[in-house]
C-alpha cells in the first residue's frame, strides 16, 4: 500500500519532524498564501534522497549521495500564477515563502489578516507501487556486484566490446500536497534506474549501444534475467551499429518496433493534447476535438495508473488521482490532459496530469504513461508488407514543435528492409513528420503492445520527468527519413 495515511505518516516523519512543522503551521501558511484572494492556492512539499554507483573501466570507483527538501508555494488568480520556493521549510520560513508569493501581486499585498486553513480532506491509498525507500539500504555490496556482472557479461559477449559504463541510481521521494480547499495528501515514490552504455570497435570504426531498466522498486525488482536481457540489448545494438551503413534519404514506408518507438505518439500526439497549449490556442490540434485526426485503428491512451511504471502516480503533484484518458479513440480526437490551472480556466476537470520536476518547478499538464493501443496485425506480416523502407526498433528521444505539429526523432537501431526482409543495419537517421499527417498514414497496427524499459523521460519548459511510452509494432506508409546516403 501507498498514498493515503501511509504516505502522510511518511511525510510527517521525513518533512514535519526535522523541520518542526505540523498541520496547524501548514494551515496558517496556506491561509497567508490564499489570503490575497486566489482561485487556487497550494503548497507542495518534497523530500528526496538519491544514491548512485558508477562503473567505469571495469571498476565501481565512484558513488554519490544527494538529499534535498523544500516547498513550492503557488497561487492562481484569474489565470495569473504567482510562485515562490524555498529549501527551508521550518514554520517561520514557510510563512515567509507564502508572504513572498503575496508580494508578487502587482503593487504587493501583505497587509490583510488571513485565517488558517483546516486540512480535513484526504486521498485514498493506492497499490501502484510500494511505499519503500530504496536509498535506506546503505550497503552497496549487492548493487556493486550487479554492476560488475554487467561489465563482465557485456565484455564476454564479444571481443569487439571495448568499453562498458554502467550506473545505478536509487531515489526515494516523499511528497505532500496541501491546498486552500483543505486537502492534505501524500505519496511515496521509490525509483531505481539501472543503465549502461557500451562501445564496440573494429578496424577503426566505433559504435555505441545503450540500454536500461527503470522501476518503481528496490533491488528485488531487478532479477538476473532482466539484467542479462539489458546487457544483450546494449551489446547487440553496438555490434549492429558497427556494421551499419548510411541510412537512405527521402520519403518511404517505415515499420516501428514495439515499446520505446511509441515515443512517436508521445511527440506527435501527446504534447499537442496538453491542456495549456489548448488554452493558449497554440496547439496544432486546437479546435479539432471530436474530429478524425488519425487512421481508424489508432487509439492513444494516457494512463497514470499502470502498476510499477515510472509514469504512474498515486496522486499527481496537485493531489489529484490520475485518470485513464483516451486521447484518440479509433482515430478520433477525444481527450486532453489537464492540470488544475488549465482545467479551471477551460471549464474542464483535472485529469490528474499536473506534474512538476520538483518543488522548485511549477506544475504543468504533463503525460504519464502514453501508448498506442494494440491492433490486430501480426508483427512479422507488418515487416513482410514493406517493399523498400526501414524498420526502427530503438530511438534516441524526439522533439515536437507544438505550434506546427512538426516532430522528429532519431534512430539508434534500425534496419533497411527490402522485399519484406531485414537487409542491413542502418546508421542513425532522423525521421520527421507532421503529427496529424503521420497519424493518417498509420496503415497496420500490431498485436504486440509493449511499454518502454523504464528509461523514457520527457522535457517541457525546462522540466524533465520520467514517463512511459509504448506501442505495438506498426507501419506508417509515408515518413521522411533523413540519412546520409545520397
Amino acid at each position: 500500500m501507498n498514498g493515503g495515511d501511509i504516505a502522510l505518516d511518511r511525510a510527517r516523519a521525513r518533512l514535519f519532524e526535522p523541520a518542526g512543522l505540523d498541520e496547524a503551521a501548514i494551515g496558517r501558511a496556506l491561509g497567508e498564501l490564499a489570503g490575497g484572494g486566489a482561485d487556487l492556492a497550494d503548497l507542495y512539499f518534497e523530500a528526496s534522497s538519491t544514491r548512485s554507483w558508477q562503473l567505469e573501466g571495469g571498476r565501481v570507483s565512484q558513488g554519490m549521495f544527494a538529499m534535498r527538501q523544500g516547498v513550492g508555494a503557488r497561487t492562481v488568480h484569474r489565470g495569473e500564477v504567482r510562485f515562490a520556493h524555498s529549501a527551508d521549510i521550518r514554520p517561520g520560513a514557510l510563512l515567509d515563502t507564502a508572504r513572498a508569493v503575496r508580494t508578487l501581486a502587482p503593487g504587493g499585498d501583505v497587509q490583510r489578516h488571513s485565517p488558517g486553513v483546516a486540512l480535513s480532506r484526504r486521498t485514498a491509498g493506492h497499490t501502484l507501487y510500494p511505499a519503500l525507500d530504496p536509498v535506506a539500504v546503505t550497503d552497496a555490496t549487492a548493487w556493486i556486484a550487479i554492476l560488475e556482472r554487467i561489465d563482465e557479461r557485456a565484455r564476454g559477449q564479444d571481443h569487439r566490446i571495448v568499453r562498458v559504463d554502467a550506473n545505478v541510481r536509487l531515489t526515494d521521494t516523499t511528497v505532500l500536497v496541501a491546498d486552500a480547499d483543505g486537502l492534505l495528501a501524500g505519496d511515496v515514490r521509490p525509483m531505481t534506474i539501472l543503465s549502461m552504455i557500451v562501445i564496440a570497435e573494429q578496424g577503426g570504426r566505433r559504435a555505441r549501444g545503450q540500454a536500461g531498466l527503470g522501476r518503481r522498486a528496490g533491488l528485488d525488482g531487478f532479477d538476473a534475467a532482466a539484467i542479462d536481457a539489458m546487457v544483450a540489448t546494449a551489446t547487440r545494438m553496438a555490434l549492429n551499429n558497427l556494421e551499419a551503413i548510411p541510412a537512405p534519404v527521402g520519403e518511404m514506408p517505415i515499420v516501428l518496433g514495439p515499446g520505446y518507438p511509441g515515443v512517436l505518439f508521445h511527440e506527435a500526439v501527446g504534447h499537442g493534447l496538453e491542456g495549456d497549449h489548448h488554452r493558449k490556442h497554440l496547439s496544432a490540434f486546437d479546435g479539432k476535438m471530436g474530429e478524425r485526426i488519425a487512421a481508424p485503428g489508432v487509439t492513444v491512451i494516457d494512463d497514470g495508473g499502470i502498476p510499477g511504471r515510472l509514469g504512474s502516480l498515486g496522486i499527481d503533484d496537485e493531489g489529484t488521482a490520475p485518470d485513464r484518458t483516451v486521447l484518440v479513440d479509433d482515430g478520433v480526437l477525444t481527450g486532453l490532459m489537464q492540470d488544475r490551472l488549465n482545467a479551471g480556466l477551460m471549464n474542464a476537470r483535472s485529469t490528474g496530469n499536473g506534474r512538476r520536476q520538483s518543488y522548485a518547478h511549477l506544475p504543468l499538464p504533463r503525460m504519464t504513461n502514453t501508448f498506442l493501443a494494440n491492433g490486430q496485425a501480426d508483427p512479422t506480416d507488418i515487416i513482410a508488407s514493406i517493399d523498400r523502407g526501414i524498420y526502427a526498433t530503438e530511438f534516441d528521444g524526439g522533439q515536437v514543435d507544438i505550434v506546427t505539429g512538426r516532430f522528429n526523432f532519431t534512430t539508434i537501431e534500425a534496419w533497411l528492409v527490402e522485399k519484406g526482409r531485414l537487409v542491413v543495419p542502418l546508421r542513425g537517421a532522423t525521421l520527421i513528420g507532421v503529427g496529424h499527417e503521420a497519424l493518417r498514414h498509420v496503415s497496420m497496427v500490431g498485436n504486440d503492445l509493449a511499454l518502454d524499459s523504464g528509461m523514457a523521460t520527457c522535457g517541457k519548459q525546462g522540466q524533465s520527468l520520467h514517463v512511459s511510452v509504448g506501442q505495438p509494432t506498426l507501419r506508417i506508409d509515408r515518413m521522411m527519413v533523413g540519412g546520409q546516403a545520397s
Binding site: S61, G63, M64, V249, G397, R427
Partner: protein
C-alpha cells in the same frame, strides 16, 4: 547587498570550510562547494501576468578522498546536522568503492589561491517588481509590433534575473568565492497565414541589465524571424551547400567542444579520439578559449577544483592544441588539468578564409540551404554520425527565395569540420560561444523529392 541573495559570502565560506574540516577529522582530504542562487522571473502575455516567481536555492556538495578512494554527497541544507550527514554519506561511499589512483585532489601548487578573477557580477535592479516592469514593457512593445501586421500574434514576454554566490574550499587551504549575476529577456512571436502557424523568439542574456538588447530590437527581431518563416516548404533531397546561421553554428561548436572534453576522451566516447596534435578541421579555422573576459557568460577565475583556466588555442589552423580537462580526466589521459572541471569557458571560432557579413555569406553560399533552427536530432558521440531536422531558407544566386521546413541534414561531424569553407563576420555571442555563420560546401539534405 544584492537584490536576490539571502545568504552572504561569509555564510557560504563557513559552510564549505566546516564540511572540509569535518572530513579532515575523519582522516579524509576533501573539497566542498557551496552554491546559493536567487531568482526573480515574470512572464507577461497580452497585458496579463502569466507567471511571477521569486525564489531561492542552495546546495552544498562534498567530495572526500580517503585511502585512494572517493565519495561524493550533497545537501540542500547548510545547517550543521545536514553537513554532518553529508560527510558521513561521502565517507560511507568511499568505504564501499574500489580504489582509483586517479581520484585525488589536484596538486596544491596548481590551485589559484589568489590572483585575478574576472568580473561576473553587474549591479542592476533585479527585484520582483523590476522584472514585472521589464516583462510588461517588453510585452507592450511586442503587442504593438504584432498589431501592425495581421499575420502576427504576440506570445509571452519574459524577464528573468538571477544572482548567484559560490564558495569553494579544499583541504589544501583553498577557499575562494565568486559572485555572479545573469539577466535575460525573451519574447515570443507567432505568425500565421493560410499555410499554418509558426512561432519564433528572440532573446538576450547578459550579466548586467544595461548590456541587454533593447526591447524594441528584441520584439522586432522576433517578428521578423516569425514572418520570414511563413510559407515554408520542403525542397527535394539533394547534396548542396549549407550556411548555418550563428545560433545553429554555436550548437555545432558545442558538439565539437563536447568531443574534446576529458570525460569523453578517456571514456572513448568521442568521435575525435586521441586528437591532440591532429588536424581535425579545415586549416583556416581557429577556436580560442578565454576564461577571463570581464562579464563574459562563461568566464571564471577558477574551476570547481580551484584551478584557473587559460587564454589559449583549442584549434590552431585546424589542429587540436588543447582538451578540456579536470585533474581526474587529465590523470586518466596522462595529462595535466586545464582548469576545465566545469566544461569550457568562452569560446570563439574564427577563420582566415575569405569571408564577409551576412549578405556576403549568402552570396558565397550562392545556391543552397540556410539553417536557422535545429528542430531536433542527435550526434552519436562515438561515431560522429550527425543527423538533424532543420528549418531555414532556400537561397538562389545569393538571395533568399523561400522559407524551408520538413527537411533533414545528415553527415558526420569530422567530415563537416573538414568541409567548412569559411566563418562569417556576422559574429554573435550565443551563451559561451562567439561565432559567425558557418558555410559548409557539400552536405546531404533530405526532403520530399
Amino acid at each position: 547587498m544584492t537584490a536576490l541573495l539571502t545568504h552572504d559570502e561569509a555564510a557560504l565560506r563557513d559552510a564549505a570550510q566546516w564540511a572540509v574540516e569535518q572530513a579532515a577529522k575523519r582522516g579524509a582530504r576533501a573539497r566542498a562547494s557551496v552554491r546559493h542562487e536567487g531568482i526573480a522571473k515574470t512572464a507577461v502575455r497580452d497585458g496579463e501576468i502569466e507567471m511571477a516567481e521569486r525564489s531561492g536555492s542552495q546546495s552544498l556538495g562534498l567530495t572526500v578522498f580517503h585511502n585512494g578512494r572517493r565519495g561524493s554527497a550533497s545537501t540542500a541544507g547548510f545547517d550543521r546536522a545536514a553537513i554532518d550527514r553529508v560527510v558521513e554519506e561521502a565517507m560511507l561511499i568511499a568505504a564501499h568503492v574500489q580504489p582509483d589512483p586517479d581520484a585525488d585532489l589536484p596538486p596544491a601548487d596548481r590551485l589559484t589561491f589568489a590572483g585575478p578573477a574576472p568580473l561576473l557580477y553587474g549591479d542592476s535592479p533585479r527585484s520582483a517588481q523590476a522584472m514585472l516592469e521589464a516583462a510588461r514593457a517588453l510585452d507592450r512593445i511586442t503587442a504593438e509590433i504584432a498589431a501592425s501586421d495581421s499575420r502576427l500574434r504576440a506570445g509571452e514576454s519574459v524577464a528573468l534575473a538571477t544572482e548567484g554566490l559560490w564558495a569553494l574550499a579544499t583541504s589544501d587551504g583553498f577557499c575562494r568565492t565568486a559572485l555572479r549575476s545573469n539577466d535575460a529577456r525573451w519574447t515570443v512571436m507567432l505568425a500565421q497565414d493560410d499555410g499554418g502557424s509558426i512561432s519564433d523568439f528572440c532573446q538576450s542574456q547578459e550579466r548586467r541589465i544595461e548590456a541587454l538588447i533593447a526591447p524594441e530590437t528584441l520584439a522586432r527581431d522576433a517578428a521578423a524571424r516569425a514572418r520570414r518563416a511563413l510559407g515554408a516548404r520542403a525542397v527535394g533531397s539533394r547534396r548542396c551547400a549549407v550556411l548555418f546561421d550563428p545560433r545553429t553554428a554555436a550548437t555545432l561548436i558545442d558538439i565539437v567542444a563536447g568531443a574534446l572534453n576529458g570525460a569523453s576522451q578517456y571514456r572513448r566516447m568521442s568521435f575525435l579520439p586521441d586528437p591532440v596534435g591532429r588536424c581535425v578541421a579545415a586549416a583556416h579555422l581557429d577556436l580560442r578559449e578565454d576564461p577571463f573576459e570581464p562579464l563574459g557568460l562563461a568566464s571564471g577565475g577558477f574551476d570547481s577544483e580551484g584551478i584557473a583556466g587559460s587564454s589559449r588555442a583549442i584549434l590552431r589552423s585546424g589542429v587540436v592544441e588543447g582538451l578540456f580537462l579536470s585533474s581526474f580526466s587529465g590523470r586518466k589521459l596522462g595529462m595535466a588539468s586545464t582548469g576545465n572541471a566545469d566544461g569550457y569557458y568562452n569560446l570563439a571560432l574564427t577563420s582566415t578564409a575569405e569571408s564577409g557579413d551576412w549578405a556576403a555569406m549568402l552570396r558565397m553560399l550562392g545556391s543552397g540551404l540556410v539553417v536557422t533552427h535545429f528542430h531536433g536530432g542527435k550526434t552519436d558521440p562515438a561515431s560522429g554520425n550527425w543527423t538533424q531536422a532543420v528549418r531555414g531558407f532556400w537561397v538562389e544566386g545569393g538571395e533568399i527565395v523561400h522559407a524551408v521546413t520538413d527537411v533533414t541534414l545528415a553527415g558526420t561531424v569530422p567530415a563537416m569540420l573538414a568541409a567548412i569553407r569559411t566563418v562569417g563576420r556576422d559574429v554573435a555571442r550565443i551563451g559561451a560561444i562567439r561565432t559567425g555563420s558557418i558555410l559548409i560546401d557539400d552536405m546531404q539534405l533530405g526532403g520530399r523529392a
